[in-house]
Symmetry: C2
Subunit: 244 residues, 2 copies
Amino acid sequence: MNIAFIGFGKVSYTLSKLIQSQDINLITSTENRSQDTIYLIKKSNVEVFPSYGEAIEKSDIVISAVTPFKAVDVAEKCRNTNVIYLDLNNISPNTTLKINDIVDNLVDGAIIGKIDAENPILYLSGKDSEKLLFLNDFLDVKIISDNIGDASKLKLLRSTYTKSLSVLLIECYSLASSLNLEDEFFNILSLTEGDEFKNKSLSRINNTLKSSKRKAEELEAILEYFDDEDLEMVKAALHKLKQF
Amino acid sequence: MNIAFIGFGKVSYTLSKLIQSQDINLITSTENRSQDTIYLIKKSNVEVFPSYGEAIEKSDIVISAVTPFKAVDVAEKCRNTNVIYLDLNNISPNTTLKINDIVDNLVDGAIIGKIDAENPILYLSGKDSEKLLFLNDFLDVKIISDNIGDASKLKLLRSTYTKSLSVLLIECYSLASSLNLEDEFFNILSLTEGDEFKNKSLSRINNTLKSSKRKAEELEAILEYFDDEDLEMVKAALHKLKQF
């Protein structure tokens, strides 16, 4: 079986390390790729084709893991093919539906948690998800439903919660600091939230402040997609994120 | 040593079970107490005096654990005495300062977590806190600082965070339900938030919805006390709580 990676960043690189089997041939292309990507490809045990067209032609499965704005273009390359098309991109569920109109056997996928975590979990949705269940030999695979879009929505849901939580943490931590009670704030919450609460929270606070602009853009796109006026806390989080 | 409990609800009852020593005599009064309270007193190993005045007169330490609006009145009963006065009431830090003007040796106390939890922790602040460190023999005691008000503030800080978090959980859970992804929402978050995330969150959601009016009142009082316009997420939480 041939699996082609379109895009070879951290996601494809990590998956290529995990999916190691005599029955599976991993392939990709260096077509129009940056030096960094070519370096990652050379470090990996994948067969390289001069063009994506050739790589796709040889494939049973195509995994798309590119920058979000290229996701639709990549799908176009697979129009009128028979490949199982796994889209792992950080795209809106609406874009996932658009891609579903382009390719024939779309599986909507989302890797939850960091891809380079010890046990990444791959969530899948769509009727063809079962055809990818064999990947369970290499990483934890969970099928959500037959509905294209559910994996993308789940990713947005997670992001909605964690981004808003991070802003709430910033707000409360800042209040605690103004009272000179920041250590005690973490200590008392660790009693109910678990021993890792302090480290986890500080890391969330720092990551959010470090990339507040990007996170604000992402949260804005999420709110636009869900278009739900009840999301008052999330909206407050966005408003605050924009001010950092 | 004599320790008098003023008020004998769940807090005093639980403390009276924990503080068991041959050197300590626990006392209280049934003056103006309800049948329920008298029942709790009878179940406990405490000496009963006909009036609070007599109990206080015999005491080295007075522990006040009453309904919040009676906290100042109880302190008045100890004006011009030499007792160490431990206030455990759910009162605003401003009320704690008022009580500090009434009694001579105030210790500001807060029990964090449920009082009937396995290991309740007693946080103390104020210069006389050290005089209560012997309570460490019976439960976990932590001294925050010399400042009267810090224990009360810490309690408000905790409440600010947990109440706002509960509303955020309600908001995200409701969004997940509308997408038919509520189980998956909990599952993916458990990966990063810990195995207990689902049960803890559902219990927070239910408790908040069950007593949303009281929680809204508490959060409103907290916002009034902190008087900080940066608390946008907390304000959004209050606005939402009022609608439930």
